[in-house]
Symmetry: C2
Subunit: 205 residues, 2 copies
């Protein structure tokens, strides 16, 4: 299932293509030309054609891309043809914002269970997701066969929580804690670091 | 002030270097060897040396880097030697989580004012930040001379809000709305797209 020869930059752009296509489909367009599609994406059209060529020839000369077909293909490439259950560790500010985040509701990702070590939070529900005790995390993740973890604990607890998730069978981690995690190479790690984004922005101001 | 010849990839790594250095300084280390520093960063040491060489020669053979000096230099390079005021549009889930996010409190970034169009939210305070009416945004941003904007409104309102921010003098935008913004070239734009991060992760699973 892993098309290893596809450049990471291409994979990184596919979610944007999908987002843009879904908008085009919502607007009722059945086809889109390569040029129009690139323009909506703010990308160079040669780049877009090259990216999509890694996955076969979806476009037709003079007609462009069939929006539904292309969206379906990209979803399949990104492994979004199944629903992904997630476990979230840390039901503080960022954690509870994610639990109430509407973007997950209708989508391909669902927080199945959340964990916190604060006894006042354990047993509560946020947006239909139950908060369980932190020390039950490994067992629950294993029992529910959850492969994706979200870390929203404070920075100094993040490594330990990540290690526990991996021990329990998690294969992909999305980390919101502002710290560098050290995980086995085979574990996929993504970091959302708000301060880092701001620091990169203001360099150019 | 803009070192245009420095690769974007280098600039993108500087916040990580700074984060790592601050941790080392907290642990009481005055010097760190290039090898140890690279190891803590999980990066190749040739890469780290090359990145830092763009800004002058901070290291001393046999001693390594002076942690305080290097951190100060990186802060200056990233324009973090001043405090940045920010305006936040949209005090819903993600917006209010950011307002209560502790990472900003002690840092270089401060949300000065927030805006929402919901009359029930206007006039309230979250973590000491007052929520103002959406239609006062342009005037307030201009009066307070705010250069950084955070967008946490729904996707279909994001472009309009971004345009208003730019009109009012904002030069850098951090967008949390899951939509592609179309802004003038001279405006710096960063996107935090949680679903995109997850989509990129699961491709590799």
């Amino acid at each position: 299932m892993k098309e290893r020869s596809i450049p990471k930059e291409t994979i990184d752009r596919l979610p944007l293509y999908l987002r843009c296509l879904e908008k085009i489909i919502d607007e009722g367009d059945v086809n889109i030309s390569s040029g129009n599609f690139s323009e909506k994406l703010n990308l160079n059209s040669a780049q877009v054609r090259k990216d999509l060529s890694y996955f076969g020839d979806f476009g037709t000369r003079g007609v462009g891309y069939k929006t539904e077909t292309l969206a379906k293909q990209i979803r399949s490439i990104l492994h979004l043809d199944k629903k992904w259950d997630m476990a979230l560790a840390g039901a503080g500010n960022i954690g509870s914002a994610l639990l109430t985040y509407n973007g997950f509701d209708e989508g391909d990702f669902e927080v199945k269970v959340a964990f916190d070590k604060d006894p006042d939070l354990v047993g509560k529900e946020i947006n239909g997701v139950k908060i369980e005790a932190a020390d039950s995390m490994e067992k629950v993740i294993r029992d529910e066969n959850i492969k994706l973890g979200i870390i929203t604990v404070p920075a100094d607890a993040a490594q330990e929580v990540a290690d526990q998730m991996v021990e329990a069978g998690v294969e992909g981690v999305l980390n919101f804690a502002p710290t560098l995690l050290n995980l086995p190479k085979e574990i996929q790690l993504a970091q959302v670091d708000i301060t880092k984004e701001l620091e990169q922005l203001v360099y150019y101001l």
